[in-house]
């Protein structure tokens, strides 16, 4: 068998097994809207842990983190900082969010805004922003998936074909099973991911340098500037680092799907305990960094840094190993993508379409529309992934700049009685507008600071300012 065929077969086995687990999980429960979106709030700590872990390890952390270690150097370290810090924040905000979810039967982020502020247009706008900024994240997963399969198959499967197959599988098991499918597939996917990352992160430096220490010593001799900020860039210095760490630490909990996942916890205690333990999971990213830095020395000159981890694995290991890595990577792209599609399609149907256009729709009809949206969103993201060519990282950072604008609305609602609906709505619009403008006009970072973060500051200022000036809200 040719190396490409071997790698492909292994990937195929892994992906099909993973999907089969997903389908099987779905057939055991009859699905109502609530079950479909939040698994009836019965998830215990173990399953919850797996679901949250699955969402943390994405194509971004697998390809993107090594890609940034390769192409940017020091600035990539923001990735190690923002994950633990996002859990610190989650400790304080997720339990009260969960409680609200329990009290009001909330399923989505937009439901939360409706329950807090009582305005259906704000809630609908939250859905719009949520859906819009999920799409680049979804596109990122699909693009990553295409790269993984293409490289691992030694170019036997074209990127476009790979993405089409993956999307079909994805839509299939989301359609049938909802969030429980995702949780179950996370089990093999997370185990594989950790094994893959640790193995590569240790073996590659060992093979080419004799060890991790020797690898860093060699890198420090050859190009010490690469290991600090701004590394290989001119604009990503300490101001950017601080603002980006803050933005993404706040933003991680603001992704619509993170809200949905939090509602599935068994109780608030689970969320607090997760916040204590989950930072430790970020340690495994160190191995991804080792690989990226090693690749920088061993195979310099790649035009696309996001290929570096796969390229060095293909160079250093036998084809079956490449297949295992590729399979892990494929599931790593498919699982979060499934959650994203699920979240966006529910947001659209339940929080945008029904309240604004068809208030008489029943829950079952909404669930039906959500299923149609699964197909629509899959197609839209697939087309974008095929025809538009932006980098993985710029897609994700655009997503963050957008969704983090929810943070003021969420946090002020939880902890400040004087916050008004108008303040939050105005702040949200301002924040999203500023972020979008700055990023699309290529002004990120702006004055050395992350553009999304600047927009967030303006957002907070508007929300607080307007709330202070307006009369206090009654009986919220």
């Amino acid at each position: 068998m040719s190396p490409g065929a071997i790698a492909l077969t292994v990937i195929f086995i892994i992906v099909v097994s993973g999907s089969a687990i997903g389908f099987y999980a779905g057939t055991r429960h009859k699905m109502s809207l609530e079950q479909w979106t939040v698994g009836s709030r019965g998830f215990g700590p173990l399953l919850m842990w797996l679901l949250m872990a699955g969402e943390t390890y994405t194509t971004f952390s697998f390809l993107g983190a090594s890609g940034w270690a390769y192409s940017r150097g020091g600035p990539a370290l923001y990735i190690l900082a923002y994950l633990p810090l996002s859990y610190v924040i989650s400790f304080f905000i997720l339990p009260p969010i969960w409680e609200m979810g329990r009290q009001h039967g909330l399923q989505t982020q937009s439901d939360f805004f409706l329950a807090q502020y009582g305005n259906k247009y704000l809630a609908a706008f939250v859905s719009v922003v949520g859906v819009v900024f999920i799409i680049p994240y979804l596109q990122l997963q699909l693009t990553g998936l295409g790269i993984i399969v293409e490289v691992a198959s030694f170019d036997a499967i074209g990127r476009t074909q790979a993405m089409i197959i993956a999307v079909a599988l994805l839509a299939g098991f989301v359609f049938v099973s909802g969030i429980r499918a995702v949780a179950w597939v996370s089990v093999p996917k997370d185990i594989l991911m950790v094994l893959a990352a640790v193995t590569i992160g240790i073996a590659v430096p060992r093979m080419y340098f004799g060890g991790i220490g020797s690898m860093f010593a060699a890198l420090a001799r050859a190009d010490p500037a690469h290991l600090v900020m701004p590394g290989a860039t001119t604009t990503l210095n300490h101001g950017w680092y601080i603002s980006t760490v803050l933005l993404t630490a706040m933003g991680l909990n603001m992704w619509p799907q993170a809200f949905g996942a939090s509602f599935t916890a068994k109780d608030a205690e689970t969320l607090r305990r997760n916040a204590v333990v989950m930072p430790l999971y970020s340690l495994s990213l160190a191995f991804i960094f080792f690989t990226g830095f090693a690749a920088y020395l061993v195979i310099p000159g790649l035009s696309n840094g996001d290929l570096s981890l796969l390229a060095i694995v293909r160079k250093a290991f036998p084809a079956w190993m490449l297949g295992v890595i590729g399979g892990a990577g494929a599931l790593t792209a498919m699982v979060p993508a499934a959650v994203l599609i699920l979240t966006a399609s529910t947001l659209f149907s339940k929080n945008l379409y029904r309240p604004i256009f068809a208030p008489a729709m029943t829950d079952d009809q909404v669930a039906g529309l959500a299923r149609i949206m699964v197909v629509v969103l899959s197609l839209v993201s697939l087309l974008l992934a095929i025809f538009s060519s932006t980098t993985l990282v710029s897609l994700l950072l655009l997503g963050y700049a957008g969704v983090t604008q929810f943070f003021p609305g969420v946090v002020l609602a939880l902890f400040w009685k004087r916050v008004t609906m108008l303040g939050v709505f105005a702040g949200l619009i301002t924040g999203v507008a500023c972020a979008t403008f700055l990023i699309l006009s290529n002004r990120d970072p702006f004055a050395g600071v992350n553009a999304g973060f600047l927009a967030l500051c303006i957002n907070f200022a508007v929300a607080i300012g307007l709330s202070v000036v307006r009369p206090a809200p009654t009986g919220r």
């Binding site: 610190v88 009260p96 991790i212 420090a220 601080i242 930072p279 160190a286």
Partner: protein
Amino acid sequence: MKKPSLRAVVVALIPFCAMCFSVSAWDRVYPMVLGLPFNFFWLLSWIVLTSVCMWVVYRIESPRTGKADSRSGERQS
């Protein structure tokens, strides 16, 4: 929603100071520790220390929130 205690918030801010705000102090290659560049080693250590801090925060907060949460859902309905 009960606000978190001041002590808890102060302890929770420690990882932010260590991993985020103080970056200019530790963003360097030397001294290398355990073969790792200093900034890398610093962050990895603080990943572990963040969990430690959060455990402390958990201990501070749990007498205040522990029992109340599991009952609040039932109380409202």
